[in-house]
Amino acid sequence: MIRDYFRVLLVDLATGKGNVAKVEGRNEYAGGSGLGALLFSIYGHPTRPWDDPDQPLIFSIGALTGLFPLMSKTVCSFKSPYHDQFAESHAGGRSALAIRFADYDAIVIKGRAPRLSCLSIGMRHLEVKDVQFLAGKDVFATGKMLRRMFPGSGHRSILRIGPAGENLSGMACINADTYRHFGRLGSGGVMGSKNLKGIVILGDGSFAMPEGNEYTKVFDEVYDKMTGTDMMSKYHNLGTAANLNALNELKSLPWRNLQATSDDDIAGITGEKFADETLLRNAACAGCPVGCIHLGFVREKFMEQNQYMYRQVAYDYEPIFATGSMLGVTDPFHVLTIMDEIEKAGLDVMSGGVALAWATEAFEKGLITEKETIVPLAFGNAEGYQKAVYYMGEAENDFYAALIKGSLVAAKKYGGEDFACVLGQEMAGYATGETFYVAEALGFRHSHLDSGGYSWDQKNDSKDVNAICDFLIGDETGRAFITSMVACLFGRGVYNDEQLASCLNSVGYSEIADNMDTIGERVRALRWKMRFDTGYDPDAITIPKRYNEVTTWKGKTDPKFLAELKKEYGNRIRGLVSEEALIRLGLEKNDKN
């Protein structure tokens, strides 16, 4: 499993057959994000649409996956149904270790199955099985049935889509092992377009240890930092939900479609409230002793005479923002109920919640009526949202079919573009200021995790455009390297350059250890190149007027500064794929497409 090339499983859903390819580039791209972009450059078709059957759906793991704690995530690379450009989404769960112990570095899925199917793979098997009977089934029902159909409890990963994916939504996620997701930019829609309802990966191999004692020594060092210090406590204590109160206090928590950034009603949806009243237990991704997954419960009385059922729902900061504050819902159980419905539909919770917030304001303003929404939408009305989510998953009518392609797609048709909270995609929960708005709007994944823009905003009140761009560009390099390992970004406090080098050296990847900065730059450049090749244009991305009306701890948005920052950051991103940069990073050859 430790090798100087990539071992890639190529599957053609049209024929149900596959083959194993040896792909060079370990020391240049490391794995994860780098490998995903490399494989898209080989197997992707930049000018063909996202749903062309020959477009690849790529899952890649990193150089250190399965070797160290928190090296537990998988990168999914694809052409997105949201913007028809190259995209990347990351998920925890078990898939990373399952791929590792099936002895692959990546899986590339091409073609379209003749009927709804499930791909089952492991070290010693490959099968594309007809599962037409799962058509329209929600994510949970699908998971339960796939669990019964394929062996390997505990050591397998079950990836699946719900109705939203089958309906080719640009907001459809791939559910990974019930509680994690390849959430953003519509990877679930890509599975839907391939007639692929599920992927079951069995990690059934075992491998020789790296030579010498260094590996176990370094493993223990990292393990002790992850579990024996307080470096990870914010993730396993209240979890990311702790941010709700902090951001509300900082006037940076989006409320009711970003009509406010702070509200006294926060008391109902703080991390403490969720922990005290709803938390059932914690869970972990395979290979991570931190256990940041927080599982709350919802209880539903479905019949008189005290007949109840209950469900477990994983919560985090972003899902609570998207289905709580953004929708004006301030009862933790109501928030979990909406999340649960979103899970069933197989929608991305952030995109889905933020799109519903736009729809609610459009409904209030009379741009749309119950003719479109079927149920009345009002901030705080959880029952209405629960039903609306179901209609989104089903693409019930023209309105919902447009909404699940993106708020702006619906807004173009019905009006209300000015107040669509879209920064490249439906916003993440950080109304922290101009730096974040620009960083997310133009960022590679349109994620708050592309670079620390939200963090910069919380610490700096400067309007120095160059300094901000220096920070964003610099920060992105390190993150591109970490997501090529593939570490969970929660572990980035432990996995500094020195620690990563020590891990890499201990397992024999010394050439990667010696070139981390260059590899980070190369991975980033190749990802951006794939993005530009598929149509990215920073100037074509607009930041809706709503963001000019936002007031944070720094005061009201400065539109002039926002525009200047956006222009300069766009220029900097263009510079990342300049001819000079590509030659310097050895990417000028990488021009098959």
């Binding site: 019930t178 059934d204 075992s206 176990t216």
Partner: protein, 145 residues
């Protein structure tokens, strides 16, 4: 003698750190299968986790089923020792185990807990502990009579 006991599995978060520690430290392998303790969900992730680990039966049905004496009962406290050089990889031990605690790898080599306790410190939620086995407790009671 003390034996490894998964006494607080309701705390388990499914990180598999125990299995990796066993594979790494005892068997010198990278795996979540070839280990004396393996974790699986108890019927889907929403229902928590179970540990597949030797319960230190005394007498041990796996030792009784072994035709070559490779799987041998420990002298005291229950549990078994596995002598690799005597093993013919027939898999009878795994068949005989009532709780599926013996894993056969792709070459039918058995992997069973040796009750060394090296996995215990890797469990972040203290699900595992080394305690006196029922067999040891029983023996002590008998000695006291």
């Amino acid at each position: 003698m003390k034996t490894l006991t998964a006494s607080r599995m309701e705390r388990c978060i499914g990180c598999h750190s125990c299995s990796f520690a066993c594979a790494r430290q005892v068997h010198k392998l990278l795996s979540w299968n070839t280990a004396g303790i393996r974790i699986s969900s108890s019927g889907g992730l929403s229902t928590g986790f179970v540990a597949k680990v030797c319960l230190a039966c005394d007498p041990a049905p796996c030792a009784k089923a072994c035709p070559t004496g490779a799987m041998k009962a420990r002298k005291k406290g229950g549990g078994v020792l596995h002598k690799k050089d005597l093993c013919i990889r027939c898999g009878k031990c795994a068949e005989a185990c009532p709780v599926d605690a013996i894993y056969l790898d792709l070459k039918s080599r058995p992997f069973v807990c040796i009750h060394c306790g090296r996995c215990v410190k890797y469990c972040p939620h203290e699900c595992l502990e080394m305690i006196e086995s029922e067999s040891t407790k029983r023996a002590k009671k008998e000695d006291a009579l």
